[in-house]
Symmetry: D3
Subunit: 131 residues, 6 copies
């Protein structure tokens, strides 16, 4: 027996979990569900809650879907989450992100990380124009 | 006397530093330089080096300038840099970011931070489709 | 030869290191020592120092042992340490943490990470009641 | 005019926002709302969404309410969110956390941060017993 | 009354706390104790424990004292701890760190933060020569 | 086909990329290039830009080369970058870092991480002497 939670496949899922899987596939127009949801499924209320949040936050709004995925990748890099980088850069590519855009995204993330640290170290006072 | 580096104003700057300030203002079409550069100016080679990087990375490319600023804000929130959040959200607003878009940016950053931690805790295996 | 430090087994350990291993096993009432200590053993003073700290901090006090392990897991998730998540969630389970409690722990860690970022981005002023 | 979002007081809030404020006060049995919600109120859908999440995650479950607040504080320290540390340690105190327990919480958070880094640096392999 | 722990001055300290303050001053050959210790003093066992660790880790060894302080500053910048940056860069200056060296330290910290993120994003495989 | 960027070997590299590889090998007096550069090579302007930065920042200055590598390792541990820890600790060893010095480095990084969190949690006010 292992402590690590393994993905729960559709065939083995409760009806409560299947309802979320079905909504994920219908919303994304795909015929599969990625591992994140299958592992979250060990805790059905959290599965449902996180999916509801993702659906609302990543759904139609005033930022384009691809921009939201780019932001998701940038945060995931900052937090060192390899799975999240892989899954959200895949989502971004599906929405049209080019390799050149991905390179620029990485360059911005890297440089921001550098200047963030310099500013923190130097404890720079916020200019009145930025308040 | 204080150990903390204070901003160096144009009037007090060396010609090497002034050359960078001039290029910043010309590139940004503004008549002032923000505190980050004025504090970096205590170390002219770093001032020049970081400005050269910013100019190259944030300049014209395949991602729009406002998207790059949104990414900069997202990383700065992740790294907890208040000055950087203030300065780059100001830059994003100047480039057309609306308050509604800012709200969506924050929602994505927050939710990504949540799911990043869940994925890390659960050590989710990367789906073959994402490799 | 490899630069990466490999675990030092009891049979190969110095008497100084064995004394710490013995105390770990006696304190925990187990007959084995986990890899963290075996790798730290390349630096006996640090091995002894860290064990002394763990013994004092994680020992009897006003928070229950399982609560301390839950906190250890929460911090380890925040810092992205897979080994630490695995070892301290195992310790928490041994002390009685249920799978339902683990799910709630993860939910709190995830949500706190989300609101931490929102608060940082929005630079919320501390209410007088919290000072 | 300032870019930084200021708290929206009840008297100035829309009915949509007031409904959330009312639910927060009813749930917490208090007659005031803290600044986090008042600043989030600039974006009513996020205000409602985050409150719904907090209510669900921090509500009755298998971990005690005070344990959940302790975990919230531990994560907030790890993420460097001063407001969150102040507000959730206040919540923990209200639920019975003693100063001695708070000291122990801080000791665990600090020590976990230390060992997390040592483990990361040494790239310790997970013991089979922890898998 | 405030929840935030205020510094405990020597005159108001217990004999247990004074003993630590005395040892700090004797070890550092100074006639004052900085705020970190005075705030830790609310929890005497932690005060004593952390001081014992600092004394052992920062004491004589194979890395020079100033190198240890430089490393302390680098970590403190990475963790966004303003107090720690201020106190340990003061300690480094006292041990001979020049302003030019401080500038180089910051440049390394910034650049490492940038390349750390690039490597994480690109998930670079470790070269056999580094194993 | 995979989304993950694979190392580009010298034989397969463009002349623009080869010029950077050549400069890396000449500067480091080695006959090979490590994977970081080979993966960055998918984006030649970033390859060139990052190498230029590394060459300037890690080149001769007022901090010794080995001290700079120690700082690089400390930051990489703080950011959880395994590749960077491996490559820069290898570089430090090549420049003379002993195993005993590496142990002391790790001890400082760990302890700084602990006190950074304690200071953040306790929100310690900066002593006037440190300003």
């Amino acid at each position: 027996m292992t402590a690590k939670r393994q993905p729960i496949e559709y065939a083995d899922a409760s009806s409560e979990v299947r309802a979320v899987y079905d909504d994920i596939m219908a919303t994304r127009k795909t015929d599969w569900v990625n591992n994140f949801w299958k592992v979250l499924a060990h805790d059905p209320p959290t599965l449902r809650r996180i999916w509801t949040n993702i659906k609302e936050v990543m759904g139609p709004g005033t930022l384009s879907p691809v921009t939201k995925e780019l932001l998701y990748v940038a945060v995931s890099v900052s937090n060192g989450c390899h799975y999240c980088i892989a899954s959200h850069s895949a989502a971004a590519r599906k929405l049209g992100m080019t390799e050149s855009q991905y390179s620029e995204l990485l360059a911005v993330v890297g440089l921001a990380s550098e200047t963030n640290r310099l500013v923190t170290a130097l404890d720079v006072a916020i200019d009145p124009a930025f308040l």
